[in-house]
């Protein structure tokens, strides 16, 4: 085309002014808490990008975070407090002033508090301020508090904390730089979003590590795994135990690590039927005993003790005892766990299981890492090197959302302990404030509640034995969600998914006020949506609601809003203060401690208030201790930011660790500093204190680290955290079930407690497997995954993200579909013993043959989220929640347990068993069940066309363009691969970085 129009565009401006100002804050589009830089123009968001200095995301930002503009711009934002005027669920409200709303709430709450504070159930959903809201509940005096952990991943938290003093999810991370073998269980597109993606990118680019994904579905992270194992849902525990079987048989275990850092050597009393059976043998002062090679029994504290891990010993009492290791080995050496015995059930060939075991052993022991970093152990013994076993693991919801999830997660930790890979170079690493003592503290508070009286501790905690349960003399639950009862003894995060049912049923107690925040319990956060709606709207014979009063706080018009009596509208994450605290869920990494804040960078422009400010206000109105001064005025008159700076949980330790002390020099400890928030803002809204190399690994036994942890308030004592291959805590519950001790379960629960409180990891079929042969048969597994671009983005009303996914099909294996004459796009019924839901089929091959799955939480109720009529979320999007019962089938006596893990109360979402059948042609087109449209809550009609940014285009700056620079993704790793690429990060080469520093 030599003779065409010679074109140019003289107006291309390569140097426009981008924004009026740039403000730093912390993202809240999911639970990851990445640092963001928000470019503002004319008080609107022009652009959000990752903060390159931030320890969580190092400048990257995912699809959700990048769509924050549309969350801020959402037409579903609530505008003013709402008081219900119609029937519950109708969505008829009148707007009221804040003063009226808060007076109303205060009246309801005051009455409850003056009678029995436990008649308030306060559950705070995806709350990132649980150290604050939990403290509010404590000061109010109700034990009925929790956030959303019970239906999310308490199995991961509890199993980890009761095994290694730390856990997966955000509390630890693989040693991405050094690991040689990374095994990921049940993690789809979600937790822990950006850090995992960054880590996988590095690991794969390095090219010297293998990444194995164990997941029924080959999507997301699994799509880049070197090996994908499409396991049968709920069988991961068996798979892991078969690997342990292989490693034990071949002696591929780290004896020294087990002896030094775990309770493998501790002697366990073997006296079947006696009260001490299965407990550790101890000397008179309570110190556990170990055996030495010459058969002597010494207290663990004896420096001469070089314990053995096997053998049988006679205690001074005459009882026999064996090391915990031996009990463990005997169990998993059993033929029950031979790969041949488990392969069919697990859906992975025996030879593959054996090969994976061999690969783990090879990576752990033949590719041992030695770092020349001297360190000193907790007892003061100098160590010359840090030995690493470069095998790391991560697990998440695919493990936790089963009724056997606690034990399965414990099995994964056991595997890591056996090969000595926890918190060592190349292994799984703790993030501060973890590791915590094992078993963890403190205990759950709320044995007693009294009118107008705070609890004597925080409502959530960690029982160490039957005496710590919250049960009455008859052994019945005290909490509304039955947490810390014999039914779910280690329910460390409560059971938010049980609250609405139990409050409706008045079991174990009636409540007066249900107060919820930021969890869509009227829709996708509840199992059994149809009945949940009924529980929320059901009335007593006198015409009053069975759940008398329901206060709900949300920033958006979610499905749950329509059921509330009083709606307290929250701000968006860009409109408020927050702190992401070391008292709660900080942003630490394995490299150091870190916390962060959010700062309000936009004015709401509507009559809404930050939830935490509202809770402080209510605290003052209720005169809660800790919220008011002696004269009854507000202790934190400046609201939540005032609290963040001035509140002290213990002397000199408050919500934020950075810039403490009057001069701001304190790290982790120090008096309140008036300029603390300014210091955070100047530093990009986060604080980080990096560990020295000496403190970086073996934190559970590392003197330098442990002393630092005590200084920072993470640990009370600089003693070692001894990891537990054998859980005496579990055995204490079992003994109680077997008739020992002062506090025993009621007879009808003895069997259940005895069965599931095994001191060693156990595998049992998920409870819903009992449904397989019922009625027409339910041979298939059904699970959900989070789309990476929507995981935890609090609703798909986001104008950009819903263009990527506004409907969800049911995915199924093409071969299975063919057998059932189901083609791509056909509509199918998904039937469970609980109900049926209609969905459109999508065929694929990268899925376990007997598993069907869909994206979680895409389906919306008509009228909710201010979506228009015909939105595909309501017509073609669906929830599996409709067909998951929140209760297990009745026992013989009619009693129904929660559909949850019997140890922790974790909601067993992924236990679901189903069958599918093709719909009749006349049934094609729309999902069912279909609910009536919810009211619009007085929101403005959403726009038909969105021209966001048309007025944000930058003016010319008259600055000359600068030279562009190459950006290499994973520059450091690519540079190491003999590519000739300059080392560094992104467009920052090491050479340039050095020059700039000079």
């Amino acid at each position: 085309m030599k003779d065409g129009i010679a074109a140019r565009d003289p107006r291309v401006d390569t140097s426009p002014v981008v924004s009026d100002e740039v403000k730093f804050t912390t993202c809240y589009m999911c639970a990851c808490r990445c640092g963001i830089k928000v470019h503002l123009k004319d008080n609107k968001v022009r652009y959000i990008e990752g903060n390159p200095d931030h320890p969580v995301n190092r400048g990257v930002l995912c699809a959700k975070g990048s769509a924050g503009i549309m969350q801020q711009n959402s037409p579903a934002k609530l505008k003013k407090p709402l008081l219900r005027v119609g029937e519950r669920g109708e969505g008829k409200f009148k707007e009221i002033e804040w003063d009226e709303a808060l007076e109303l709430a205060t009246g309801w709450l005051q009455e409850v508090r003056g009678d029995d504070p436990a008649r308030l159930a306060f559950f705070t959903g995806r709350d990132q301020s649980q150290s604050f809201t939990g403290w509010w509940a404590k000061q109010f005096g109700t034990r009925n508090f929790a956030a959303h952990g019970g239906f999310c991943s308490v199995n991961m938290a509890a199993a980890g904390l009761y095994s290694i003093g730390g856990s997966f999810w955000e509390f630890g991370e693989p040693d991405w730089d050094l690991t040689k073998y990374f095994l990921m269980f049940g993690v789809a597109e979600d937790h822990d979003s950006n850090p995992i993606k960054m880590g996988l990118g590095k690991l794969k680019t390095r090219g010297d590590a293998k990444f194995v994904s164990v997941n029924p579905v080959r999507s997301g992270y699994s799509s880049i795994a070197d090996e994908w194992l499409g396991i049968t849902p709920g069988t991961d525990g068996l798979f892991v135990m078969a690997i342990i079987h292989e490693l034990l048989r071949a002696e591929k275990i780290d004896w020294e690590y087990l002896k030094r850092y775990t309770n493998a050597s501790w002697l366990v009393v073997q006296a079947e039927g006696e009260a001490e059976h299965g407990l550790f043998a101890r000397n008179a002062t309570g110190t556990p005993l170990v055996a030495t090679p010459d058969g002597k029994l010494l207290p663990l504290s004896d420096r001469k003790a070089d314990p053995v891990l096997v053998g049988s010993y006679t205690l001074p009492s005459g009882q026999t005892a064996v090391p915990a290791f031996q009990l463990m080995a005997e169990r998993y050496l059993s033929e029950e766990y031979n790969p041949d015995a488990v392969a069919a059930r697990v859906g992975i060939e025996a030879k593959t299981i054996r090969r994976i075991a061999a690969e783990i052993a090879e990576a752990a022991f033949e590719q041992e890492i030695t770092l020349d970093i001297p360190w000193t152990d907790w007892a003061g013994r100098p160590q010359q090197k840090m030995i690493g076993r470069p095998v790391s693991m991560h697990a998440m919801r695919g493990i936790s959302a089963h009724s056997n999830g606690f034990h399965t997660c414990r099995a994964i930790h056991l595997l890591q302990m056996l090969i000595g890979s926890i918190d060592v170079p190349g292994g799984f690493r703790h993030k501060p404030p973890y590791p915590k003592p094992c078993p963890p503290g403190p205990l759950p508070a709320g044995q007693e509640t009294a009118a107008n009286t705070p609890l004597d501790g925080m409502p959530l905690g960690f029982p160490k034995g039957p005496e710590d349960l919250l049960v009455d003399e008859a052994g019945n639950p005290k909490r509304i969600d039955k947490a810390y009862s014999w039914e779910y003894p280690l329910s460390a995060h409560g059971l938010m998914h049980s609250v609405i049912h139990n409050a409706w049923a008045g079991e174990p107690q009636e409540i007066d006020v249900l107060f919820m925040y930021m969890a869509n319990m009227g829709w996708n956060s509840s199992m059994n949506v149809p009945d949940t709606i009924r529980y929320l709207t059901d009335k007593k014979p006198d015409g009053s609601y069975k759940i008398p009063k329901f206060i709900y706080s949300d920033a958006y018009h979610s499905e749950t809003v329509a059921f509330a009596d009083l709606v307290l509208p929250d701000t968006t994450y860009l409109e408020r203060w927050d702190c992401i605290s070391l008292l709660d869920r900080p942003i630490s990494s394995a490299h150091g401690a870190a916390d962060a804040i959010r700062q309000p960078i936009l004015a709401p422009g509507r009559d809404v208030r930050p939830f935490q400010d509202v809770m402080l206000d209510l605290g003052v109105r209720l005169s809660l201790p800790g919220f008011v001064t002696e004269d009854g005025s507000a202790l934190y008159p400046g609201g939540y930011s005032d609290y963040i700076v001035h509140h002290e949980r213990t002397p000199d330790i408050g919500p934020l660790g950075g810039w403490r002390g009057e001069d701001g020099s304190g790290q982790g400890r120090g008096a309140a500093n008036e300029a603390q928030l300014d210091a955070y803002i100047a530093n990009g809204c986060f604080w980080e204190k990096k560990f020295t190399p000496e403190q970086s690994y073996y934190k559970f036994a590392n003197k330098s680290y442990l002393e630092e942890a005590v200084h920072m308030g993470w640990l009370a004592m600089p003693g070692p955290v001894v990891m537990e291959i054998y859980s005496e805590t579990m055995q204490k519950f079992r003994l109680a079930a077997e008739g020992h001790g002062r506090r025993q379960p009621p007879d009808h629960l003895r069997g259940r407690v005895a069965d599931f409180f095994d001191p060693l990891p156990l595998w049992y079929a998920p409870f819903a497997d009992a449904d397989i042969d019922k009625g027409p048969g339910y041979p298939l597994h059904a699970v959900t995954q989070r789309p990476m671009h929507m995981y935890h983005s609090w609703g798909s009303q986001n104008a950009w993200l819903r263009q990527i996914t506004a409907r969800n099909p049911i995915f199924l294996h093409a071969d299975m579909a063919r057998e059932k004459d189901i083609a791509d796009g056909d509509w199918v019924w998904i039937n469970s013993p609980h109900g049926r839901v209609k969905a459109q089929a999508k065929l694929m091959r990268g899925v376990n043959r007997n598993t069907i799955w869909t994206w979680n939480a895409i389906g919306k109720r008509k009228g909710a989220w201010n979506l228009k009529e015909g939105a595909p979320e309501a017509t073609k999007g669906f929830l599996l929640n409709h067909i998951i019962s929140e209760l297990l089938p009745p026992r013989e006596d009619g009693y129904r347990y929660s559909n949850s893990d019997p140890v922790t109360g974790q909601a067993a979402w992924y236990d679901l068993r189903v069958n599918i059948e093709k719909c009749a042609a006349a049934e094609f087109g729309e999902t069912e069940p279909m609910y009536d449209a919810q009211g619009p809550a007085d929101l403005d009609a959403p726009p038909d066309i969105l021209r966001y940014g048309a007025d944000l285009k930058g003016e010319e700056s008259s600055l000359a363009p600068v030279a562009m620079k190459d950006w290499i993704g994973n520059r450091a790793e690519n540079a190491a691969g003999a590519t000739g690429i300059a080392p560094g990060h992104g467009n920052q080469t090491t050479e340039r970085h050095k020059k700039e520093k000079e």
Binding site: L61, G65, S66, A67, G201, A358, R845, A960, D966, I968
Partner: protein, 248 residues
């Protein structure tokens, strides 16, 4: 009809996309959309954003699909696609008004909205389907390679790259001068066997894709030594440990 530069530009700015590590998360697509919403081609209009058929202008889209392979058992591929800033860009030569053009200084293909009549010939001509028609504005829009970002002194250095690149969580995206064989980005392409998308179309795209690397499946040549049981029976294993560790 519009001319390409008389001499192909020496400087060829473009993207390198690593299919070995792309997880299909859509971060690049959404961050692109937000930058460009107030950028050179603003706005990135969305029609029916809260209704039955939400559609809008996106310069970058991700396609995830399965590829079957009997031997390796198949794989899931995540494939991001945007304008490839071709040397022989048919979208330019087909343009009847001179609106579509390729910059001489860096090879970026742009659309001059003032001259675009919305005839869509370019979107028909582009074999990659990388053009985005803004119905509301009546003009064609497309990836600008963030021409208003990469040279912009109003931004800090680490932000002066296309939005899709700096935001990518897995680090699957690189950016640079593919016309310079010594540039880091060219070295990356050379070392990883980067390839042209659909070379048979003879558009000579600037962007390159890095193919997935062979996976470590535990097949031949990468097998860890088989684990050998130290005894035939479980009891034997434990008995062996007792012998080994106890001196008595």
């Amino acid at each position: 009809m519009t001319s390409l530069p008389k001499e192909p530009p020496k400087k060829k700015l473009g993207l390198v996309i690593d299919l070995d590590i792309c997880v299909g998360c859509h971060a690049c697509a959404v961050n692109c959309k937000e930058w460009n919403s107030g950028g050179h081609s603003a706005p990135m209009t969305d029609t029916d954003p809260y209704g039955a058929d939400p559609t809008g202008v996106w310069f970058n889209r991700i396609h995830s699909f399965e590829v079957e392979n009997e031997e390796t058992g198949g794989r899931t591929v995540n494939f991001p696609k945007s304008c490839l800033h071709c040397d022989d860009a048919p979208c330019v030569t087909v343009c009847p008004t001179g609106a579509s053009y390729k910059r001489e200084e860096d090879g970026i293909v742009l659309v001059n909205a003032d001259h675009c009549i919305g005839c869509k010939l370019c979107s028909w001509a582009c074999p990659y389907g990388a053009r985005e028609y803004d119905e509301d504005a009546g003009v064609m829009k497309k990836c600008t390679l963030c021409v208003d970002k990469i040279y912009n002194p109003n931004l800090p250095e680490e932000s002066r790259v296309p939005a899709c690149v700096s935001t990518c969580p897995v680090g699957a995206r690189s950016f640079g001068d593919l016309g310079d064989p010594d540039s880091d980005v060219s070295r990356l392409v050379a070392s990883r066997g980067g390839y042209d998308l659909m070379p048979e179309q003879e558009c000579r795209p600037t962007n390159k894709y890095l193919p997935p690397r062979p996976k470590k499946q535990g097949g031949e040549g990468q097998t860890a030594p088989e684990l050998m049981p130290v005894s035939d029976s479980s009891a034997g294993v434990i008995a062996r440990w007792v012998d080994r560790f106890l001196s008595a």
